[in-house]
């Protein structure tokens, strides 16, 4: 479904990604783990067209998308919940969700999907008129995921959804991820919480200073001594 081939990305003279190749197949949950500054966010931003690759190719459902503007990619079915959530602080929960469906026209379907988001996160329903900036961190994360789903993506990119959340809220978020994949949405998940990410994904890539250093089924990686030492703290 999504394929990166030898993609390199620079910030000015600094190379953030050095020829990374990876793929995500229809219906999979793939996770990308790595330490701070490894280039995970850069990878997601490049896939969504927020950054332009310097070299390499990115294809989505067989078509080259490298360098295409973000709004075209959202229309095609790629959606991202950005790092740090990025909720619209002065807009209400409902308005935030509405913004996620900005490119869609069918009001009835949008209302239906909003109900789905509220079913997935009942906490949001209780706070639908509240300004997003006043939500707790966990609620904001739920909102960011709900909002990303409002564009009806076929591929959902999540950038560190568990960052800074208490263990029980992390649990809620990962349950939601299972639920989303259950409905057939493909997910590329960026996480530092390697334990949870490997437990809820099919395959994984390990990114270190802009290079993919390991890849394989999540089960295998979770059992790998190097991963255990470096990312699982065992």
């Amino acid at each position: 479904m999504l394929k990166l081939d030898n993609v390199s990305v620079n910030y000015g003279a600094i190379e953030a990604l050095t020829g990374i190749s990876m793929h995500v197949e229809q219906g999979e949950v793939v996770t990308l783990i790595g330490a701070n500054g490894a280039g995970k966010t850069t990878t997601l931003r490049t896939i969504t067209g927020l950054l332009q690759p310097r070299a390499g190719s990115i294809t989505f459902e067989g078509e080259e998308i490298g360098g295409k503007p973000t709004h075209k990619l959202v229309a095609r079915g790629i959606s991202m919940s950005p790092e740090g959530r990025g909720v619209f602080a002065n807009l209400s929960v409902r308005e935030n969700l509405r913004m996620g469906a900005y490119l869609r026209k069918n009001k009835g379907e949008i209302a239906e999907d909003m109900d789905h988001a509220f079913q997935m996160f009942p906490r949001l329903k209780e706070r639908e008129a509240q300004k997003a900036g006043t939500l707790s961190g966990g609620e904001q994360q739920m909102l960011a995921i709900g909002r990303a789903l409002m564009s009806q993506p076929r591929l959902l990119l999540l950038d560190e959804p568990s960052l800074g959340l208490a263990p029980l809220v992390v649990h809620t978020i990962f349950e939601a991820i299972d639920e989303i994949r259950g409905k057939g949405t493909t997910i590329l998940l960026v996480e530092q919480n390697a334990h949870a990410a490997l437990g809820h994904s099919d395959r994984a890539y390990v990114l270190e200073t802009g290079r993919i250093v390991m890849e394989g089924p999540s089960k295998d990686l979770a059992a790998d001594p190097r991963i255990k030492e470096a990312y699982l703290g065992e």
């Binding site: 969504t48 927020l50 503007p69 973000t70 709004h71 959202v74 229309a75 959606s79 991202m80 950005p82 990025g86 909720v87 619209f88 602080a89 002065n90 807009l91 308005e95 509405r98 913004m99 996620g100 900005y102 490119l103 009942p122 906490r123 509240q130 300004k131 900036g133 006043t134 707790s136 961190g137 966990g138 909002r147 990303a148 564009s151 208490a166 029980l168 809220v169 649990h171 809620t172």
Partner: protein, 368 residues
């Protein structure tokens, strides 16, 4: 009543009101009860400032893009339209007057001048906006600041529009024009803000990257808002030039742009009624200062700065914040002493309360 009828009625009321106020603006007018010229001047300038403040609020308050060269676009509108009215209007008016009558011809020509001023300012906005708004960040502030200064120097060196000696312009503007275009400006900006486009603009202000990730073509919307804002500023420039009857580049210095920024900061960025309020206050303030002993209006800049600091210290979101003044406002203000922030227990705004403890959260999660 159907909304169309309601709107037409509202428009009719506004037009009648403007006509009444227009005659009120001359001392002999309205059966001898008109206002003295001095007050009329303050009211006219307040009207023009409302257009400037509301238009700046569209790009800075609602879209979150700092433009600090609004006076530059005003100058573009003022000078381009004045070029038209000074060199061509009389001849056109004569030939058109033969066909449709003198006063209608006059009105049509001035309307054309206003359109020209708005369009030239819009084009300037496009030229400034496209390169600086394609990027995320505060490039617009720097570029607009530079643009306003460059435009001023360029005009200063064009002898056809008076250069350094100034440009005498026909005094076409009366209150009817100012009032009508102030209303039109407010209606335009109100409609934009309350549309899909407006929601896109606000989301760009809130978080540009996230807005882009939602599929909003942020460059497109930012440029759109900026061009509209520039066009309206140009229109205000036309009205201003044809009111004072004399254009000097001194009227469009940085201080003018700064004044407009103060208006929206004072009234509340992202509040239309706030901009109107801010424009009126900032127009009247130097006049009030003039009344004080020692002519404090010479220290206008000092007072503005002090005012700005005072606002920042006491009410950083401006008098109205992002809210609008309306009938429901008084009720709401009473219910929520902190206004913008929903209040949690003990009167502490929810955003400022301690986050619930892990145990509380665990309970909440279990309860779901």
């Amino acid at each position: 009543m159907p909304t169309l009828v309601k709107r037409l009625l509202a428009a009719l009321v506004i037009v009648l009101l403007l006509i009444a106020m227009n005659s009120y603006m001359s001392e002999a007018g309205l059966f001898g009860f008109g206002v003295p010229p001095y007050y009329a001047r303050v009211i006219m300038l307040a009207g023009i400032n409302i257009i400037l403040a509301v238009s700046l609020n569209l790009i800075t308050g609602f879209t979150g893009q700092f433009s600090i060269g609004h006076a530059g676009f005003m100058a573009v509108g003022a000078y381009s339209s004045a070029y038209l009215t000074v060199y061509y209007a009389q001849a056109w008016e004569r030939s058109l007057g033969g066909m449709v009558g003198g006063s209608l011809a006059h009105a049509l020509i001035f309307l054309l001048a206003i359109l020209v001023g708005a369009i030239v300012a819009a084009v300037a906005g496009l030229i400034v906006g496209i390169p600086s708004l394609r990027l995320r960040g505060d490039y617009l502030a720097i570029v607009t600041l530079g643009f306003a200064e460059i435009i001023r120097i360029v005009i200063l060196n064009i002898d056809k529009v008076g250069g350094a000696t100034g440009f005498t312009v026909p005094g076409y503007t009366n209150f009817l024009w100012v009032g009508a275009f102030a209303v039109i400006t407010i209606v335009i900006v109100y409609n934009i803000v309350h549309s899909d486009v407006g929601r896109a603009l606000v989301s760009i202000r809130e978080d540009e990257l996230a807005a882009e990730a939602m599929g909003i073509n942020t460059t497109h919307y930012k440029v759109l808002a900026f061009v509209i804002s520039s066009a309206l500023a140009g229109m205000a420039g036309v009205l201003f030039g044809h009111y004072t009857s004399f254009l000097s580049t001194n009227d469009f210095q940085f201080i003018r742009s700064f004044e407009i920024i103060i208006m929206i900061v004072l009234g509340g960025m992202g509040s239309l009624t706030g901009s109107v309020f801010g424009a009126i206050v900032i127009t009247i303030m130097p006049e009030l200062l003039r009344q004080l002993p020692g002519d404090l209006s010479r220290y206008r800049l000092v007072v503005y700065s002090a005012l700005l600091i005072l606002i920042m210290l006491t009410r950083p979101q401006g008098i109205l914040g992002t809210r609008e003044f309306g009938l429901s406002w008084l009720k709401r203000a009473r219910r929520r002493p902190e206004g913008d922030k929903p209040v949690g227990t003990g009167g502490v705004p929810i955003a400022e309360q301690e986050p619930p403890s892990a145990i509380d959260r665990a309970k909440e999660v279990k309860n779901q």
